[in-house]
């Protein structure tokens, strides 16, 4: 009898031990000591200014590995490769990361065309394609692309927010638009028109475009002023945002001025354009502006500052990418922690699609990250801000728009 019982007991024990061991499930790129993560980033080429994000991520993972031993005892092996913003190169490097280096997932690959190139591939291969660094609105489509998830509020949504604000406050405005002739410009424009609603054709009196390779936008600004517009919707990237703000002031045009968040960096745009020229401009934000004195004693700001000083000392702290990429890395760390010892690709996506009210440092107070199996847009709210003195001042309530 005793024998039988011990046998039973040991069998039961073995079963338990077995199940305990079975809980440790690993996908490719994961061992007891390491998690391999891949990324493509334009460190060279036309968009090399965005490479800041990848450098911050590398610094953050180095900090995690050295001070906390990684995540759940596993060090992060972060491989970030330079695709020069060229889609075929992104494809090649992504295949290298997925097939040769066997990364668990791709994190924050930057660019719309570059991500479009690998969109189908990632979903065919069933590799998590997480938190993309692009504001196009097509990344939250879990039905057709269950392995791809965006991150920031998309351009379409943001411009809809502006349009709603304009309709509510400047009903009779004559609107002039300056936009970059690419996917970003088009996405913003379509959201803007949607937000204005029927009758938008009457409100928009001028619509000028420029190429990202153009030296200046001076002639476009003159053209917009001559259209008699009273409101300027400025859809530009940093270099051109600075130029246009300066030019508007130079020629004495005084429109109500809305500027998209892409071009709203204090360090890269407002200061070069001249603080006095930038007064009163309105933008939308989801992250704290680190130049705003109101955050100077906020714990999350101090934590970020300490991290930047110690681990990323060569970065320009006024550059907006250093904030947005810091926020995004917290999203990934949350997902990896939530996975525990079940680090399969399936579980990564399950956890990424079940984020509930996550608060992340440097997000504006009140903005929480939420996802669900049908909602692949993690950050959906923004708040309007006006440039006053030498920083952005928030006003109004958080506006959360239904994406799509």
């Amino acid at each position: 009898m005793i024998r039988r019982r011990t046998a039973l007991l040991s069998a039961a024990a073995a079963t338990f031990a077995g199940s305990a061991r079975a809980e440790k499930k690993y996908g490719p790129g994961v061992t007891d000591t390491e998690i391999k993560i891949g990324q493509t980033m334009p460190y060279s080429g036309n968009a090399s200014a965005y490479g800041v994000a990848g450098r911050l991520h590398a610094a953050y993972f180095r900090m995690l590995n050295e001070t906390q031993g990684g995540i759940n005892g596993r060090k992060i092996n972060f491989i970030s490769l330079d695709d020069g913003y060229s889609p075929p190169k992104t494809m090649e490097l992504t295949r290298q990361l997925v097939e040769r280096d066997q990364v668990l997932l791709m994190f924050y690959p930057l660019g719309t065309q570059t991500n479009t190139a690998i969109h189908k591939y990632m979903n065919q291969k069933k590799v998590p394609h997480l938190f993309l660094a692009t504001g196009a609105s097509k990344w939250g489509d879990p039905k057709n692309f269950p392995w791809t998830m965006g991150w920031q509020p998309d351009y379409h949504t943001e411009c809809k927010i502006f349009a709603k604000h304009i309709v509510a406050n400047h009903k009779d405005a004559k609107i002039a638009i300056l936009r970059q002739n690419d996917d970003m410009g088009n996405d913003y424009l379509s959201g803007f028109k949607e937000g204005l609603g029927a009758g938008w054709e009457k409100m928009i009196v001028a619509d000028a475009t420029y190429e990202v390779t153009d030296p200046t936008v001076d002639s476009q600004i003159l053209q917009l002023k001559n259209s008699g517009a009273t409101l300027f919707m400025n859809i530009t990237t940093p270099k051109f945002s600075a130029q246009s703000i300066k030019k508007v002031a130079e020629i004495g045009w005084k429109p109500v001025h809305y500027l998209v968040s892409v071009g709203a960096s204090v360090g890269a745009v407002m200061r070069p354009a001249g603080i006095e020229n930038a007064q009163g401009i309105i933008t939308a934000q989801f992250a704290k502006d680190v130049t705003d004195p109101r955050w100077a004693n906020a714990p999350d700001y101090l934590e970020w500052k300490a991290f930047m000083d110690k681990w990323n000392p060569t970065a320009n702290q006024l550059e907006g990418s250093n904030v947005s990429s810091y926020i995004s890395v917290h999203g990934l760390v949350h997902v990896l922690k939530a996975c525990g010892d079940d680090l399969t690709r399936e579980n990564i996506m399950r956890q990424a699609a079940n984020i509930k009210d996550l608060e992340i440092p440097l997000l504006l107070p009140g903005i929480k990250v939420n996802t669900s199996p049908t909602n692949f847009y993690p950050i959906r709210a923004e708040q309007l801000a006006r440039f006053e003195g030498d920083h952005w001042t928030l006003f109004g309530d958080l506006i959360s728009a239904d994406a799509g």
Partner: protein
């Protein structure tokens, strides 16, 4: 300089052996179950595609003496032509490739006319503008219906025919290889014949060639057209293997890559084109690896810029092998044969 390589007796055997080896490589996939094998095949496809593009450029620069910085434009036109034909006109991939070549021949031939007036660095500058203008023209509203504007065109990779037991990557590798073999064979024969001699005569001394009765204008524009067609077919293959074309794929950087591949492989050398194609793919990637390795090995806090390493490699190569890798190999062979003759 001796140009006798084309008439050497064993050149055909060497070439056949080489292509047979290239053709056998994907078969490793049947015995190896390494998950990265498909990736290596994809790299193989890229190398072949770049080799074809360099071949087109070599025909123009190496054998005809016209400099082009604008071949990324023809690569783009070929890629877009193939993508548009396949998506909007449901043309099969095997037909889309030569059709893209024909479109590019037209484009190259037409561009060749104004180019006739320009020599040397003036031509380089004119073609440079082509490389800058084409990606923007592709975004233009009037053709955005076909080109997809800034969004580009997504296409489906062709499936291997059902009677072949190949994976998609194995199949596409063979598609690239077959196109490459056909084009190298055509160029090889073209250069051995009357036209090739005319092209080279124009390169060596245009006025003398004209006096000999060669229609220099016709040959120059024709060479421009053929060169564009070959590079355009490489573009078509690239569209098919990446399954996506977008304006950002065809920057001036790409033209420079072709030129680097050409110079590194060896100007006016056909095997040099293959070396150049491999160089473009391998060295950019390995400079990144060297940068990572240096960072680890010397525990640096800052990244070593990969492009600086790339530049250094290029400088060293040009210093030690000024005739390109193909030239270097030939020099070593010459040295060896001299040594063996002495002993």
């Amino acid at each position: 300089m001796a140009r006798s390589w084309a008439t050497k007796p064993h050149i055909g055997l060497w070439a056949i052996g080489f292509w047979v080896v290239l053709a056998a490589l994907p078969l490793i996939g049947f015995v190896s179950d390494s998950p990265s094998f498909d990736y290596y095949l994809f790299m193989g496809q890229s190398m072949l595609i770049y080799a074809i593009a360099v071949l087109g450029l070599n025909l123009l620069i190496g054998f005809n003496g016209q400099i082009s910085l604008g071949h990324s434009a023809f690569f783009a036109v070929g890629a877009y032509a193939a993508a548009i034909l396949m998506v909007h006109a449901s043309v099969p991939y095997w037909l889309a490739i030569p059709l893209a070549g024909i479109v590019c021949f037209g484009a190259g031939f037409l561009f060749g006319f104004p180019a006739l007036k320009l020599e040397g660095h003036y031509l380089a500058l004119a073609t440079f503008t082509l490389a800058i203008a084409v990606p923007q023209l592709l975004k233009h509203k009037s053709i955005a219906g076909w080109t997809g504007g800034v969004g580009g065109v997504l296409l489906d990779k062709p499936d291997p025919p059902s009677f072949l037991p190949l994976s998609v990557d194995q199949f596409l590798y063979y598609v690239c290889l077959i196109v490459a073999m056909a084009l190298f064979w055509i160029v090889f024969n073209l250069l051995r014949g009357r036209s090739g001699r005319a092209m080279m005569a124009i390169r060596d001394h245009a006025m003398a060639a004209g006096t000999m009765g060669i229609d220099t204008a016709l040959y120059k524009t024709m060479t421009f057209g053929v060169s564009a067609a070959i590079t355009g077919m490489a573009g078509a293959l690239s569209a098919i293997t990446v399954a996506y074309v977008a304006p950002d794929s065809f920057t001036l950087q790409l033209s420079i890559s072709f030129l680097v591949g050409l110079v590194v492989g060896g100007i006016a050398s056909l095997p040099g084109c293959l070396i150049g194609g491999a160089f473009i793919v391998l060295v950019q990637n390995s400079s990144q690896s060297i940068s990572d390795w240096m960072k680890d090995a010397f525990s640096l806090r800052y990244d070593v810029p990969a492009w600086a390493i790339y530049g250094t490699l290029l400088l060293l190569l040009m210093f030690f092998l000024p005739n390109g890798l193909a030239g270097g190999i030939a020099a070593i062979r010459g040295l060896l044969s001299r040594v063996t003759q002495k002993t």
